[in-house]
Each structure stands twice: as structure tokens, then as C-alpha cells.
Symmetry: C2
Subunit: 145 residues, 2 copies
């Protein structure tokens, strides 16, 4: 999660919403992909950190399925990313700050709890929550200032 927070800081420095994500091989802990949010830079509304690492790790694995891999992300995934996590069959999701306004795991549509969701990762929320939340708060306070 320290690595994901570092990426979130880099996102903020690039003018992007500070969210960072890393995918690791669950067995070895080896990092397979790392990214931060790049929506504005890439002109891509889908370029959330989670989608970018899933795409990169799947390309590297030469498979759309990442069973046995774990995701670390500094913010609760939105519904788009949560569904992508289910499609990718990730084993575990560790996330930082909870997101009552935009989250899709513990809030909103609670994607993994839907009867139509065919893969449910283990989810651990609130990991280094404070550090992730402070980054987001400072970023949005700066934008309003």
C-alpha cells in the first residue's frame, strides 16, 4: 500500500485525482503492474488507477484472467472498477479510504454483493485509510482554493 500511496502522490502532482494502484502476484508478492489515475492526461474517462493496472497486468500475463493476483488501491473502487475486478477474477482487494459518494464496493451498487456478480474477491477496506484520505482531501481543497 505504501507503493500505491506513492503513486497517488504522483497523480496529484500531475493534476489527477490522487489514486494509486498496484497488482501483485498473491503467491510471491511480486509487483505485476502499478499505475495512478490518468483520466485528464490520457483524455480517457476509464483511466482509473485500477483499470490501468488490471489492463497492464493482464497484458503481461497474456490472459484476461488474473486469478491468484491481489490489488492494492488507495481508494474504494468505483462500480466500473469493481466490475472490472470481478471480470479479472482478482483474489483479494486491499483498499485505503472509503468513498461514500463514488464507491461501488461498500457503497452505491455494492457490486460484489449483486446476485449477478460471478466472482467475489476477498475485500479488506480501510488499509492506511488516513494517509489516502488526507491526500484526497488536500487535492480537492487545493482545486477549490
Amino acid at each position: 500500500m505504501a507503493r500505491a500511496l506513492e503513486l497517488a502522490r504522483a497523480a496529484a502532482a500531475a493534476g489527477e485525482v490522487p489514486v494509486g494502484a498496484v497488482i501483485v502476484d498473491g503467491a510471491t508478492g511480486r509487483e505485476l503492474a502499478a499505475a495512478h489515475n490518468r483520466v485528464e492526461t490520457d483524455h480517457d474517462p476509464t483511466a482509473h488507477a485500477e483499470l490501468l493496472v488490471i489492463r497492464a497486468a493482464a497484458a503481461r500475463a497474456r490472459s484476461p484472467r488474473l486469478s491468484g493476483c491481489d490489488l492494492y488501491v488507495t481508494l474504494e473502487p468505483c462500480p466500473m472498477c469493481a466490475q472490472a475486478i470481478a471480470f479479472a477474477r482478482l483474489r483479494r482487494v486491499y483498499f485505503g479510504a472509503y468513498d461514500p459518494k463514488g464507491g461501488g464496493v461498500d457503497h452505491g451498487p455494492r457490486i460484489f454483493a449483486q446476485p449477478t456478480c460471478h466472482h467475489r474477491p476477498e475485500v479488506y477496506g480501510g488499509i492506511e485509510e488516513q494517509a489516502a484520505a488526507i491526500l484526497l482531501r488536500e487535492f480537492f481543497a487545493g482545486r477549490r482554493g
Copy 2:
């Protein structure tokens, strides 16, 4: 929708779930992007037709927001794609077959009806429904055979 169905047929020929999508400028009707599902070909669990056209149209527009653009897709969008449609601020969504098992618009989490969803496109379902459904049925029957 005829163009989207054509793309869905091309997807089936490539061994991909037959779903095609097109984004047009709502004012002029000009096609901005077209794609079919490429999950297996690209080793990318997020490579649904809708996500691919949204990314392509946004890259072309050099903006993550596609206000005033309309999406035609042969199948009801899944929750991942529905949320991406909301992020992209698409004006209208025309879809073909309803998808009770995997859809996220009229089924499952009904993304656009969530209080946390900040943009709701106009949605028209069941457009050329039969043609889209037959394509999907034949594809899955062929895979089981």
C-alpha cells in the same frame, strides 16, 4: 445499430462474444468510433465493445467527456460499461438485447438508478433486439457444441 450488429458479427468470427458498439456525434450523426468486444484477443478483461469505443472517441475528442454523443450497442451494457458511460457523460444509449444475467442498466445494480450516479443518459433498450439476441444465442450454442 446496423453498423453495431455488423461489428458484433465480426466479433463472433474472431471468437469473441458478439457485441458491437458505435459512438456518434448526436448533432450530426457522424461516427466517432466503432469497436467490437476484444477481451480474448487483447488479453484484456475490460475490452468490452462499449469501453473500447468510449476510449477511442474520447481520445479523438481529446477530452474524457463526450457530452452530446450517443452510443449504439447490441447488448445491454454491464455494470462496468454503464458506469463508464456515466463518467463519459454520453447523451443517449441505444441498446439491442436485454441481458438479465450480466446487464447493469435494466438488471443487476441498475447503475443509472443509483443515487450515487451523477450522470444519467437517456436509455432506449430493445433496438433490433432479435438480431442481437440471435447472434449471441448462436455464438454460445456453438461454443457448447
